[in-house]
């Protein structure tokens, strides 16, 4: 059905995309196993010494730990908040629904640098800047539309009669929620939750504004180190991110299937 010229043209574009998307990643991973002391590709012999190096580097390890904590806090805040909001937007008749949507999209429409600076000023005046947990909250704020969006698109395809049926059978509101509504939107919650976690793991700009040496997270630490001499240990740290990304993609595929992103709403 697709004509030969179209096939050739489109596939060459697709291959070009694959190359520009993947080559930097592959090179980073490749460079991380070099035996030499400077970044080079092809790598200068094979060795895992830079992985040993980063496993010993206390600041990198701590930054990694903080990134995990920040992402978990982000998850703990955003999943309940986003799920409820997603349900509210689809299952309830709200007045000013359009205005609410515009408001809830503010994290997307306000540029990250603006959100970051705003929260830096607000958290500063609340005297909580300099702790780790506000960073997690901030990342929940800037990415919350992702989970609202994924929950509400799940909820939209859920038949409302199911909830009524449950209530008819004598289920209370809590029971209906946990046994009917929540399982129904679970794909959306999982997708949204994974997105929130991974985006918090990799978020850079807002974290840069909200952290200092005591609270620095891994992406900011990498950025700071890149501004120093670029040594292969950074490639090794970056490869850790590649592994996390692989894991997340695999989980997403296992739990809900990547094809969920192709569905038209």
């Amino acid at each position: 059905m697709i004509s030969p010229t179209q096939r050739i043209l489109f596939w060459s574009i697709v291959w070009f995309c694959i190359v520009i998307l993947s080559v930097p990643t592959l090179i980073v991973v490749g460079a991380s196993v070099t035996a030499g002391n400077i970044i080079s590709f092809p790598p200068d012999g094979f060795s895992l010494k830079w992985y040993g190096e980063i496993a010993l580097a206390r600041d990198l390890r701590q930054a990694f730990g903080r990134s995990i904590i920040v992402s978990l806090i982000c998850l703990a805040v955003s999943v309940p908040v986003g799920t409820l909001a997603g349900l509210a937007l689809t299952r309830y008749r709200l007045r000013f629904a359009n205005a609410l949507q515009v408001y809830l999209l503010l994290p997307f429409t306000i540029p990250l640098i603006g959100s970051g600076i705003g929260m830096m000023l607000v958290f500063g005046s609340w005297r909580i800047l300099g702790s780790v947990w506000p960073v997690g909250v901030a990342l929940a704020v800037i990415n919350i539309p992702f989970i609202i969006w994924s929950v509400s698109s799940s909820a939209a395809s859920l038949d409302g009669d199911l909830e009524l049926a449950a209530a008819n059978c004598g289920a209370g509101r809590v029971e209906t929620f946990f046994h009917v509504t929540l399982p129904g939107v679970m794909p959306g919650v999982i997708t949204g939750g994974l997105l929130m976690f991974v985006l918090a793991m990799t978020e850079f700009l807002v974290s840069l504004l909200l952290t200092d040496a005591r609270t620095v997270t891994l992406p900011v630490q990498i950025y700071n180190n890149i501004r120093s001499i670029i040594t292969p240990d950074l490639a090794a740290v970056s490869s850790v991110f590649v592994v996390i990304a692989l894991l997340a993609v695999w989980l997403l595929d296992r739990l809900v299937g990547l094809e969920i992103f192709l569905k038209s709403k």
Partner: protein
Amino acid sequence: MTSKLTRRGVLRAGMATSGAALLSGLPATRLLAQEPEKPTEIIVRAWGGEWVEALKKGVSDPFTEMTGIAVRHDLTEDNEIQPKVWAAVAQGRVPPIHINWDTTTNATKSALRGVTEDLSDLSNLANTTELAKPVGLDGYPLVNTYGYVYVLAYRPDAFPDGPPNSWKDLLDPKFKGRIALYNDGIGFHFPAQVAGGGSLDDIPENMDACWDFVRQIKEQNPLLGEDPDFTTWFQNGEIDAACTISTNALGAKRNGVDLAWTVPEEGCKFDTDCLWIPKNLPENELYWAKQYINLALTQEGQQVWLDGLGLPGVVPGLTPPEGLAGDPSYPTEPEDFERLIRISSAVQVQNESDWFAKFKEIMQG
């Protein structure tokens, strides 16, 4: 809580009575009885690359060895840490760092704003030269630790006719895209004023000559970066010449890149860097931060640290690193300073932001 406070009070009293003895840098073990509680780590803001390596070797590692306190280096840029420290002090929070390794101009701004601790009671200040004392400030809100020159560093391959005589040599079309400056132009403003046909006496009132010259340089598409960038760029063959502190060129040279530097006829800017401690640190952490700076002012500390940087220090009797005795980037004698440009700290503090802004404005065009 109360017991802790009393403990602190006792410690403070102890410190006051035996202050001089405490600060004299005796081996830590012998002072155990009077020492305030040790934090697990102190955080020192530093420049990356060669800079942090040298500090680690000369001061941080010996400090850890002596006290058991780990030292973490925060590589946030000096300009970027400044508002974070200011905000923390203004909001009554513990500042993000214990010690700031800073340019004297920037540190003076912080001192004027009143966010720095006084360091007059450091015992090792007694051995320092005139250079250590901040100009135009009361006491020691900061301590200068060495001087440096923003030299013209170059790859000899790119200058077959010998070292460049003038900053104007960089205007040769063959250097288009092959030169580098600091991203705020620091170190370049004053020689540019001379190269542009102006006079140093006109700084800060009339710097048209400087901006004219910067505009000409802009046509050469210079790369703009921070200290470690210069080393990386020289090492990767991205640039042929740069206006940078000699340390960055020395870093690449020590890694085997053929590099040299010179002070052209228009002169080069001489300045100092310093160490200071922000206010609002817990009492015990302040004590140990002071010990760190005190260690940085010992002769051994200075010798190793500044061997790494290749720069002249503030205590007498240091041996210049190999090959740097008499080098233009290592001024020690009065005649060494003849071709170097020194502008008063007050003028720089008042105007530096404007110069940075103006430089950026031209470069972003």
